[in-house]
Amino acid sequence: MNMSADPRLAEAWSHLPDYLGSHVRVSLAALALGLIVSLPLAILSRHRPVLRGALLGLASIVQTVPGLALLALFYPLLLALAALSLSWFGVGFSAFGFLPAVLALALYSMLPVLRNTITGLQGVDAAILEAAQGVGMTPRQSLFTVELPLALPVMMAGIRTAAVWVIGTATLSTPIGQTSLGNYIFAGLQTQNWVFVLFGCVAAAVLALAVDQLLTLIESGLRNRSRLRAILGSTGIAALVVATLAPAMTRPQTSYVIGAKTFTEQYVLSALIGQRLKAAGLSASTREGLGSNVIFEALKANDIDVYVDYSGTLWANQFQRNDIRPRRELLAELKAMLARENITLLGELGFENAYALVMPRKRAEQLGIRTIADLASRSANMTIAGDYEFFSRPEWTALRKAYGLSFRGQRQMQPDFMYAAVASGEVDVIAGYTSDGLIAKYDLITLGDVRHAIPPYDAIVLLSPKRADDDGLQKALAPLLGKIDIATMREANLRAAGNDAASSPDAVAQWLWEKVGKK
């Protein structure tokens, strides 16, 4: 296979200005903010042991929080702050994307900067400090002409460490709505597009190295009093910023933002919606790889305009309902509840993507298991795997209660790997998705939910409050409503899970439109 001819590589390159630009902007903004906060704090604390201990302790604690969790925590925090600010000052702000990412990453950058600045300043020889005083320097002059220049190499080492950390961790800001090089990695992981994953990793590494080298250049320029090197390094950083701002400036302002969650089907459907909007002459961009809660809040706050969710998910998660209703009834009530949040439920796409317990067909036949009720008596000797959300969702509680399920062990897995795991016997049962194409591929069956513990999961199109009366948007999406049946969606998902050029979300969306658009 000739890599350079792979259309996925061409597609990856086509996203680079956008992803890299956003990545550089969010990383450098976070680094700058981190420096603006950390440097004065470090200087302030150099003669104050208590403050110093408190700062370093706090920064160390922040460092132990995993990057993804730190980013995820800032989203609800800012959401609450935005709501407060709106009610107190009448001014709201977007808690989505850039702001939480910058704040979390800035916090992340603080430890190396604080620690190295403090260490560097403390490492200055006492005799030199005395000399600075003796020649008649004020404490301020001593700091700027003697202490900081002497501490500079150690400080710069800290700043470089922070830069590399921030650039690496920024790839995790995709799920909170900040476009970054992480978009390649998240999308690639979901759609089994390893070209994307590799491309994202390499791009992030190259960027980290480049920034590190530029900072080294600035440092050596400052240390050797070579103005040329310092200017070259600073120009490099400035050029990086300008180069990433330019495409953002020239890019047409897209009026519609389409959201997508973190799994294959969502990538395909958001691509499909994007194609429909473009066909209708509307400009659109996509924010993909968003967490389930982030995406709903983002829609409510008008940060995204349209996305596809599932009735049961909203019912159980967003509205905390654990009663099970017939399909039509649930949809009607959901529509009313969403309307109270000013969100429009435009309509159903026509298929359901429900959670279902899935087993290999052969094994189920051997054991005589056809429904979840049949499974219950054997579950004590079996292991189950689910996605990262499943075991904390109300559906799981409902299932256990309805059937008295009690498994020997449970595991969490990346959704795309679950099917292979159950097919190979590594786990006995998985909580899969009914619309997943891999069910057919691996010859698996879904077990009947005879007691109706799992609510219906109709795929529904949601519109943000500000798009409630947008006829153009509604007209563009109307041809999709009710047209996608479960078999078609399964086939689309199977295609998208392939590992070749035809499996890109855009290509699959095109195929899907050709199938359903003519109906």
Binding site: A131, Q133, G134, V135, G136, T138, T145, L150, R223
Partner: protein, 262 residues
Amino acid sequence: MPTMPLIAYAHVGKTFDDGRVVAVDDVSLDVAEGEFLAIVGGSGSGKTTLLRLANRLIEADTGTITVEGEDVQSVDPILLRRRIGYVFQSGGLFPHLSVAGNIGITPKLLGTPPAEISARVDELLDLVRLDRAPYRDRLPHELSGGQRQRVGVARALAARPRIVLMDEPFGALDPLTRDALGEDFRELHRKLGLTTVMITHDMTEAILLADRIAVMRGGKLLAQGTPAELSASDDPYVGELLRTPRRQAERLGALLPQGGAA
């Protein structure tokens, strides 16, 4: 006394560690204008503390110190330090600044125009006998110990002070360099009409360079006077300090034939 002393300590005391360590104990000492005073004492005698009280690197607990007729407590310590030259033990040069940068630092702090500083640096390099061209732009770590100390002296003199304080300036040098530097400084002291206070633990050096010597021990001023006056002192510690140079002089006189080249 016809003229007022340029530096005067009156009943000065200083303790550290909440009074547990007495560094300077009721010291009164005058330094006349144009005088070269050496303060001699062992480590812990309080001699360095006494020196630093003069430019307020250390603040006195009791007593008064006047410099050029003014109580130092009524003078901004930063401005005070800028008008008093200070030579540190083993140079105390700023490692990231060139020789010129080190020498010009106090004029720069005083806001002297760069061209003037540059000319002054050249003048001072001549004064401390360092060639302008090769040394101007070197960094301190590229110099020998003696050269570093010459730069330290030049830096202390840069803002044309009337007073120079020296903290064991030649202590870490080899004997030849030390002797040459001491002689050169003595000459500068005379030529520029400086008032110099030098700390040393070496009585021989003190006798050879200073007009007057003050002896300190345990924070107290034991004796002060010209070498001749000191040799008349009946203090046993002073006598002990003088014994070494005397014996050395006698032995050297006996070992080295008069006028011969060793």
